[in-house]
């Protein structure tokens, strides 16, 4: 196998996203095993190159500089397929972000190429790339490979290590993309202010019905802020209208694998566990000692969340003050 790898680097305000940097790490890891080379492509108006992108086996990074303010996913795919004249015999790697999936899907259709999304593990067996992805929201793991001449993989955040072998041969190329007329128009960006993106978050503090009332979520918000994490929610509280859907963790919400998942007042219905059981560490706070969440928790406290959270927050605050 003499494949070359292509990594699509997603950027916000010119900076490579954490999950794309992990994708680059994963592709480079595979390239060391298969002895092939990697190139990366960044698309957007700005791109800030820094030394963390000079890496062993990374031949070049092409920055396709666009003057269009907004690009639709199919327009990204146009630029990628326009840039690489031949995408046969290539493996293309994306983050499993909303944009990453949209672009990857568009390319899969154009190239008639199979695609595996939401990979949590990649390995090599007999010169083929083998992927593991959760199905039924993590109740089952599906280990599979792609047939065909090219392959597309989308990698879930927080499951792959960032690159660790630095090099000095990485070339940076800037390619100017002429502005074009688009069928799409961006009207507004609605940002959840100051919040950490839940699918990339290292720490998630998640609340359920045990919080008793929507107003008590201020405790969840405060704890997540102290820990610099994101806020999550169970399906019950989203369905009750206490929290927005984008915070929902579980089978009809987001599937996450943070470093630490703190479940507060969440009993741990099977569909919720499916969305978070791949977290590295799980902490549970719940009144019911028999709640299923304790069966998978690394650390649990049996007790009333409304009593424990204020004390925990106060303790953490005093630790911060002491500078520990």
């Amino acid at each position: 196998m003499n494949n070359n790898f292509i990594v699509f680097l997603e950027q916000t305000d010119g900076k490579i996203t954490k999950s794309s940097y992990e994708v680059l790490g994963a592709a480079l890891d595979l390239s060391y095993k298969l002895n092939c080379s990697v190139e990366a492509i960044v698309i957007g108006k700005n791109f800030v190159f820094d030394e963390s992108l000079r890496l062993k086996n990374l031949l070049k990074i092409t920055h396709c500089k666009t003057s269009n303010k907004y690009l639709a996913p199919s327009e990204y795919a146009n630029i990628i397929s326009g840039h690489y004249s031949d995408l046969v015999n290539k493996d293309i790697f994306f983050a499993n972000s909303s944009l990453g999936k949209d672009i990857a899907a568009s390319l899969a259709a154009r190239l008639d190429t199979g695609i595996i999304t939401d990979c949590i593990e990649l390995s090599i067996e007999e010169d083929s790339i083998i992927a593991v992805r959760p199905i039924f929201s993590g109740k089952i793991l599906d280990k599979l490979k792609l047939k065909g001449e090219s392959r597309i993989f989308n990698l879930r955040a927080n499951n792959f290590s960032p690159p660790n072998k630095f090099g000095d041969k990485t070339e940076i190329i800037i390619k100017i993309i002429d502005s074009f007329i688009s069928d799409f128009q961006l009207l507004e960006i609605i940002k959840a202010s100051g919040k950490v993106d839940i699918s990339e978050a290292e720490i998630i503090v998640s609340g359920g019905r045990g919080l008793k009332d929507t107003s008590n979520f201020s405790l969840i918000e405060e704890l997540s802020k102290i820990l610099n994490g994101a806020v999550g929610a169970s399906r019950a509280v989203v369905d009750a209208g206490w929290r927005p859907h984008y915070e929902q963790i579980g089978q009809t919400g987001k599937t996450v694998s943070p470093n630490v998942y703190i479940a507060v007042g969440i009993s741990g219905a099977i569909q919720h566990l499916a969305g978070m059981n791949s977290s590295k560490y799980i902490v549970a706070i719940n009144k019911d000692a028999d709640a299923p969440i304790f069966k998978i928790a690394d650390y649990g406290i049996v007790g009333d969340a409304l009593e424990i959270l204020p004390k925990l927050i106060a303790e953490l605050k005093s630790l911060k003050l002491k500078g520990i």
Partner: protein
């Protein structure tokens, strides 16, 4: 306005899924099935749009016989016509999208709705691949939609933020939770559904570009320490975060 909706039937999200003894298949026969939750939002939005602009809603589902139940329910809720692409094979998202594309193009709809993902395999790209095959504009993860005679305005949920974009017809829209509140079938709906056209097409020779190696269960996390006294628990948790997780 002609609208197509692609739906699927999935095991109830509370089901326990078991792996067959050969480690290559799932034992799914005994489970309760529901319409994929995201597809319900897709169907509801299609019906709402039809009510404003007139026209018809065609529901399409590819898969085994159990998918017929989803299609029948969709007819009872208000879709005009159902097409079942009958196949016993399971396939990857590229080949599923190709199958749906072949059917959709014969209807030439101006809008095609999908759920943003299925609750079973969650590939979350079938709608997007189909959009590219049709060469339609794509709006994925849509949580709010305004449709006028010649333009579509959508709010899209992107990782942790939202954008509001507008585009033109024809378009593929994938539905996010929160887009609407799906209605239930009425008794009258269930009765009239039986008279609506239901087309079955048997699909043979399906392709699959993925090859399954094995299915396995994720490693069960074993229970760790559980404190029953809350003060002791708080101190224990802080030292756990400091010494094991190392985030403090």
């Amino acid at each position: 306005m002609k609208i197509a909706v692609c739906i699927s039937q999935v095991p109830d999200t509370e089901s326990n899924i078991t792996i067959s003894t050969d480690s290559k298949n799932l034992d799914l026969d005994e489970l309760d099935y529901i319409i994929n939750p995201y597809d319900e939002y897709a169907l509801e939005e299609a019906l709402k749009t039809k009510e404003i602009f007139n026209g018809e809603v065609i529901v399409i589902s590819a898969g085994a016989d159990k998918n017929k139940d989803a299609l029948k329910k969709a007819l009872a809720i208000g879709a005009n016509k159902a097409v079942h692409l009958k196949t016993n094979e399971s396939f990857d998202s590229l080949n599923l999208a190709k199958l749906l594309y072949e059917e959709i193009k014969t209807h030439q709809p101006v809008l095609v709705f999908f759920g943003k993902q299925s609750a079973d395999y969650s590939n979350s790209v079938t709608g997007q691949i189909t959009a590219q095959l049709l060469n339609y504009n794509l709006l994925s993860n849509v949580s709010n939609l305004e449709i006028s005679e010649n333009r579509i305005i959508a709010e899209r949920e992107i990782d942790g933020w939202k954008e509001k974009v507008s585009t033109t017809f024809p378009a593929v829209i994938t539905a996010e939770k929160g887009l609407n509140t799906p209605r239930y079938p009425s008794l009258k709906g269930i009765m009239t559904a039986k008279k609506k056209p239901f087309i079955e097409k048997v699909i043979e020779n399906t392709l699959n570009c993925t090859e399954r190696i094995e299915l396995k269960r994720p490693k069960n996390k074993s229970a760790g320490k559980v404190a029953v006294n809350s003060d002791e628990g708080i101190n224990g948790l802080i030292s756990f975060l400091q010494n094991e997780v190392k985030i403090l």
